[in-house]
Symmetry: C2
Subunit: 238 residues, 2 copies
């Protein structure tokens, strides 16, 4: 417990840290590729879809609805207009089912958050679509552990600085737990905070385009939620 007092606030990411998410996106993308395979014989359909998503990110932001709109645009472009409107409609329905999937906690995450909340203030910081993220928080069975929930449009250093400002804390008093080096760890470390990186078994291409971490000594890597409390205790100045 040596340095536990140095960390005053622990932030948790939502998607793929508290609950499953990327698996559902992957399944939708697989379905998209199968659909397009009836029109075109290409082995880079996913890369073409991602290129459209990426170009639309500044207009749509993150989340299912933007992804579905990008899928529709990509489907039309990739098939050179040959796609049928029935398949366009199926893509819309695919998006609706993605918005309705149940929210599945990662095994052990509830105990880990509860253990940390016993000693620290905790906050859930999740990015994406406000409406869908609120629904996921509500359905997750974890909302009772988080007195404060921040749903943000982008997780960069300025967003984390604003959140810390609202809590009246300095970066060195803050640790963020999440699966994405790009969104959860790198910007917090760049500010002078701490990170606990818990990789998920699948990572969206966009989250993999990470800047190198400025100071690796400020980051612990864990493999399961059960390891998070000890990792938080191990953080902080020696």
């Amino acid at each position: 417990m040596r340095n536990a007092s140095a960390i005053r606030l622990v932030g948790f990411d939502g998607d793929d840290t508290l609950w499953k998410s990327e698996d559902y996106y992957r399944a939708a993308q697989d379905e998209f590729e199968r659909m397009l395979a009836t029109y075109v014989d290409l082995d880079d359909v996913y890369q073409r879809l991602y290129a459209v998503e990426k170009r639309n990110l500044a207009l749509f932001g993150y989340g299912v609805k933007g992804m579905v709109l990008s899928m529709l645009e990509a489907a039309f472009e990739i098939t050179d207009g040959a796609i049928g409107s029935d398949d366009m409609h199926r893509i819309v329905l695919l998006g609706k089912s993605l918005l309705q999937h149940p929210v599945e906690q990662l095994p052990g995450i509830r105990d880990a958050v509860a253990a940390i909340a016993a000693d620290h203030a905790v906050v859930l910081i999740t990015k994406g679509d406000l409406f869908h993220q609120e629904a996921k928080v509500r359905d997750s069975g974890l909302a009772d552990l988080f007195p404060r929930i921040e749903i943000v449009s982008e997780k960069d250093a300025s967003t984390y600085a604003r959140v810390l400002d609202e809590f009246g804390l300095q970066p060195h008093q803050f640790a963020m737990v999440g699966n994405s080096l790009r969104s959860d760890i790198a910007p917090v470390v760049a500010l002078g905070g701490w990170g606990v990186h818990m990789p998920y078994h699948v990572t969206w291409a966009h989250e993999e385009e990470a800047e190198p971490i400025a100071d690796g000594a400020r980051v612990r890597r864990v493999l399961t939620p059960a390891e998070i409390p000890a990792a938080i205790r191990a953080l902080g100045p020696a």
Copy 2:
């Protein structure tokens, strides 16, 4: 200035109160109706679209992206699948242009907000898509007047109660300025607050489905932004 001291915080709605919005949605819906007229001869296309939007509201929330997905679903249903994928694609592009339209301040609104901000704390409370609303606030040229901006998924009594709680205020110390009786005025009055209703020249059908206002004496109606400061001064206990 008799009762000005009773009101401590003035909230402003965004869409159709600070800047134009519904006009752009209407133009997109008109375009949708023209497109479908080449497939079907119906005079209730707009009502059918609204029925689809309304049924999807619990899944999509408010905003352009959800509206576009509902348009695609409605287009397929209304034409019984006859719509071409080229027109489905055009609907996606219509949505993208809607997300890129310039943000146009309502004439006189900047002066009105500045006059009120001289005597009261002010907050912008807007609902809809987080990403698009943040972009509109940024592009509006009004962000500097609002130290606090709340983007919420629904404007009901519980949302206003949460915002007032964050400000440490009682409802009778709060007045909300907006164009929608349903979203801006009725829930605030129901809590015991005050309202300044400034109707816009077009109102979305959903916003017109309003509960009757509990206490009309707590609401002033104005026709232009220039009238808002005097309406705020006239509010409060006699």
